[in-house]
Point group: C3
Chain length 319, copies 3
């Protein structure tokens, strides 16, 4: 694995899940990456990802340096060949180039603008960090994917499923007041296709995910029908990919509550957090025994740790 931005970067995703679960049994290994250093660059604010990445890097004995790049504080130019006479103080070539001098691995968090689909889906920012830093790069969520989350999700499913047959996993859209990225559902679908599960996607019409992620995965527009017999339900809002970045529905009948749970196979209910209580998922679920969202959050440390361990080892810098 050279970078970690998508399931496609990983030769053996199931093996990586196993490795992360092993790490969970004994996470504190301060001699593993002693003297190594990770830069964690946030172009958007973050709670869980920042904390879990920092903890993961420190568990490995390496140093994590967090950089919160506010919108005002540090305007970066990403275009090639421009005369920089506006408000952008530094080009990504130099910014990432300098980070390449200081770190062994780079974690980068970017967000889509949800204005132009081609721009977002080209992953311009993430790719620029990869290209110009010369370092192994870990996506701490990008415009179109959130692979550390998906790896933690897979771990959590593995921990909660002890049968030999494949579990039925359903990812369901839920209403929200803001237009959110497709990164989490894209990634979840992308990873679940590599996992030993039967996956169904359910959402109102118009919320179809991009073909490159969801192509071939069954879509059921009737939420209740989709949820029937589900062993795991991933609840998540996203904005439309087709009418890019738009909110097409705020139908609260899609809020996940006991009514939905009743038709499942006593499903475990998942969410990547932050979750809007009462809107996306009802309190009766989040405060009940089926919710495993905090377990997912805990596993974020070990999914990150497995990935950083791999990339620290493969980087060229001398220990």
């Amino acid at each position: 694995m050279k970078n970690f931005t998508s399931v496609k970067d990983v030769k053996d995703p199931g093996g990586l899940v196993k490795r992360a679960l092993e790490i969970k049994t004994n996470p504190f290994t301060p001699d593993f990456a002693r003297g190594k250093r990770a830069g964690l660059i946030f172009l958007n604010p973050s709670l869980r990802t920042r904390l879990s990445s920092q903890v993961a890097v420190q568990n490995l004995g390496a140093e994590a340096i967090v950089l919160d790049i506010g919108k005002d504080g540090w305007a970066l130019e990403f275009e090639d060949g421009v005369k920089m006479n506006g408000n952008k103080a530094e080009h990504i070539k130099e910014a990432a180039g300098v980070m390449g001098q200081y770190f062994d691995v780079l974690g980068v968090r970017t967000f889509p603008e949800l204005k132009d689909r081609n721009t977002d889906y080209s992953e311009q920012l993430l790719n620029a960090f990869i290209r110009y830093s010369g370092l192994p790069v870990v996506s701490l969520e990008s415009a179109t994917r959130h692979p550390l989350q998906s790896l933690a999700d897979w771990m959590t499913i593995e921990e909660n499923w002890k049968k030999s047959e494949r579990p039925k996993v359903v990812i369901t859209w839920a209403p929200h007041v803001k237009a959110l990225p497709q990164a989490v559902p894209n990634s979840f679908v992308e990873w679940m296709r590599e996992a030993p599960v039967d996956l169904t996607i359910t959402h109102p019409e118009g919320y179809e995910l991009a073909e490159e992620f969801a192509g071939g995965v069954p879509v059921e527009y009737d939420q209740m029908k989709a949820l029937e017999g589900a062993d795991f339900v991933y609840v998540k809002n996203w904005s439309s990919y087709k009418q890019y970045g738009q909110i097409l529905s705020q139908d609260e009948s899609w809020s996940f509550g006991n009514e939905q749970l009743a038709v499942t196979n006593n499903a475990k209910v998942m969410h990547c957090l932050p979750v809007r209580r009462g809107l996306v998922i009802k309190d009766e679920i989040l405060d009940g025994p089926n919710a495993i969202h905090l377990q997912q959050a805990k596993n974020r440390v070990y999914s990150a740790q497995a990935v950083f361990a791999e990339l620290f080892t493969s980087s060229n810098s001398s220990l």
Copy 2:
């Protein structure tokens, strides 16, 4: 000690002072809490508390992760049972719950709004972190108390008093341009009542502290009379508790200067900082030999270290 939010959380406050003074003689013990991790959560900005807590945790060999929660960056919902369709992105149940997965001990800094007394004095925010994180919680100042400061204050008095009789300690109100919390005087009084000192409170009428803190402690409205023969004077502004959050006086005759010092027993003069020079305390005092405010500040490291040491040891997480 399960949490550290008030003197009431401590079985033997005098013993904790002794422990902190011992730590001061040899503070760097990097194997003490190796592999442990403290989250230091600031809902309000802080200089001394942030630095001293971070240094304390690092002196113990543990890792400190500081989270500055700006007002805009991360709006938390604290109410139960609401449908979160406004501007609050996450509920304290999940935010604190996640921190409970990542840390061994949590330090939390909150401030009162000084609008509604019942809200502030219920310590809603601090108690929510305790309840939902499931971790031992250290108050890094809350709406109504600042116990790490008081512990450092007690240490400082102990270091400056070698006689066998009880010193006379006076806490005096002083003028300020802003409405400040009662947290520092509340806490100082609460701790001094457990200490071997004779305590007097002095302030203009209307500035009486809450009964639960100051009940039974002598109040003298004539500052000069109160200060007579004092061995230690704690100078501090606070806003009114009775007319909650109001500034009732800006009487600069209460500013602490040489005139006040003259009637004391060559008292040591204390302040928790930050201090408005010329307004709260005059330069002639702060730049003179009686001021021990920097000693108090230094002792913040060791008071925090004694508390974190205790809570790291009692937490369940495996080292």
Copy 3:
């Protein structure tokens, strides 16, 4: 060396360069300053300086605590004897005094306001931190100097020059859209005068640097003539010292490109970063083989490490 704010603080600047180059060959020495602590105080935002200083301190085994002091977050009073009844919450005497209790060495970053020359050139802020912290202070760039940059620049020249004769070094002004400090050119000139190089300064008329920095160094107003036969060219914008803080020219014929390079002795081209591409230096240079700006950036770690190593050793605090 007691502080590091100017080349004048260093007894043997050439020896310090050698020491930094030695450190570069083996930078990770975690037992060197174990238990020591550096405070890195930024009154202005910073990327390279923050990262390189933090990495340097950590390479020495010490702990670095970064404090970003925003304009709003923490307003400091620097005047003596004022009654603090405005918006300044703390006096530098206490702020720096407290840091003196918590750290072994202090790094401080300040910027000029470019309004009043005497204020800026008095280095009021930096000197106040030195005076009131009682600690060895490292300038992380001040109103008039950037010595860690100049030390890294000298290292970079040393690495790129293997001949016995003195190289010709030219520092050339370049256009910019904003009024920038004179700190980098002041410092570069101040250090190069101690180095075994032949230095020439070139800029449009009106951009003369202060006599205390540039007095006696040849100035050539014709850029092309100045660059003839140069072995190293340092490109940098600065605002006028004479008409203080003003932009007197935006003449883009001074932008450094292949046309300028052609008259040099195949010069290495330097910049301290951030650099405005296409305006200060053209892409053809920055993307070509003569640019050594990333090498300069890398050397920032080792220049800082040499300085912090020296000051940790000379500080009084017990290890």
